[in-house]
């Protein structure tokens, strides 16, 4: 997608003009190369996303030993499947149970476990989610279509320092004999943030 923003059919918005100005200035001065920019865009648009985290979760669902390692040292267990990198230096996996629903937020910015979930969706970065998830999690979850029964404890994790969190959802019912690959296709990004529960 290199340079396609240079040929917009419509007039550039203010922010598009600023983004273009900074990119052109930095590439002209040799501070950042066009090749680097293209490579990073491609990696995060295609290779680094929630499909990685889904593989981690599916493996934990089928392999009790892996699940134990994941909960003991998330970073190392995730590295076993080949994932790691920026914002993944220390990942902690938190396990949902019939009595516990974990959910992740970053109230100060938008910290997120990039190697397993990719870049965060817009709602995760919104002032509404960031302000309310710590003070009224049950109400926000219900609004997002995830009703958590009153007897289920909600554990919110505000990633305010170095740790990035991955929620390990419960394995859906009636999936005995389902392959690991098929299971990974059932794992959603939202379930790994903790704003969705498997049916």
């Amino acid at each position: 997608m290199s340079g396609d923003h240079l040929h917009h059919p419509h007039p550039l918005s203010d922010v598009e003009q600023r983004a273009r100005a900074l990119e052109e200035l930095l590439t002209e001065k040799g501070i950042v190369s066009a090749e680097f920019i293209d490579r990073v865009v491609e990696a995060y648009a295609q290779d680094i996303g929630p499909m990685n985290g889904a593989k981690v979760v599916a493996r934990a669902w089928v392999d009790p030993g892996y699940k134990e390692r994941l909960l003991a040292d998330g970073t190392a267990a995730i590295a076993e499947l080949g994932f790691g990198g920026p914002e993944g230096g220390h990942v902690v996996a938190v396990e949902n149970t019939p009595q516990i629903q974990n959910v992740v937020v970053c109230t100060l910015c938008s910290c997120y476990p990039w190697p397993v979930l990719g870049l965060p969706p817009t709602w995760y970065k919104s002032p509404s989610y960031r302000s309310r998830m710590v003070s009224e999690p049950r109400a926000v979850l219900a609004e997002m279509g995830c009703s958590v029964p009153d007897d289920v404890e909600i554990r919110v994790w505000d990633s305010s320092a170095e740790v990035r969190y991955l929620v390990l959802p419960e394995r859906p019912a009636s999936t005995d004999g389902v392959s690991e690959e098929q299971l990974s296709a059932m794992v959603t990004r939202d379930a790994m943030i903790g704003v969705a529960r498997p049916e």
Binding site: R18, F36, Y44, A45, C109, T122, A161
Partner: protein
Amino acid sequence: MDGVHDLGGMEGFGAVDVESAEPVFRHAWEARTFAVSAGALGAGGFSTPMFRHAIERMEPGHYLTSSYYEHWLTAVATLLVEAGMISHRELDDRAGGFPLSHPAAVGAEDVDAAVPNDTPRFEVGDAVRVRDVQFAGHTRCPRYVRGRRGIVVRVDPAAPIPELEAHRGERVLDPNYSVRFDAAELWSDVSEANACVHVDLYERYLEPD
């Protein structure tokens, strides 16, 4: 700093607006800005705390009405201008106006040096209270837990103190903890039942309870 970025517990933002099937990048400029920022932060040797603080220093109205990647764009441009790697005029001329973040309210001389510490003082199960301290610069101690009591649930490896890395450019280790706060401790009579919030905090933010 008690800025608008420190959103935990603030009211008035309404429902969370969820867009289904949202692409990774909604506009080409967002993708370019993400990558340009990654490259520029590396080239300029700007640390994550410096970058975060440059976002926090944005004009509050601009911060709340602009997207995540516009925050990045503004903060990276600000750091590059402050470091003398580019000029504000160059940006203005090309973009027809390029708002930057406000200058930092504190300098290196306003932040005390510290001794590295990687020996945790607290252990899992300890009762702690978050120190009620104001700081006009970069901090990772959210406002909503200051003065509140919680329980240590995890001891994490020591990490560089954000205040010192942001303002003195020094990486000085301090132990990290995950601290659990009951909803009622944080939100008193309006708290939801059967809920708790865990916040990851540096040892320097905590005192024994």
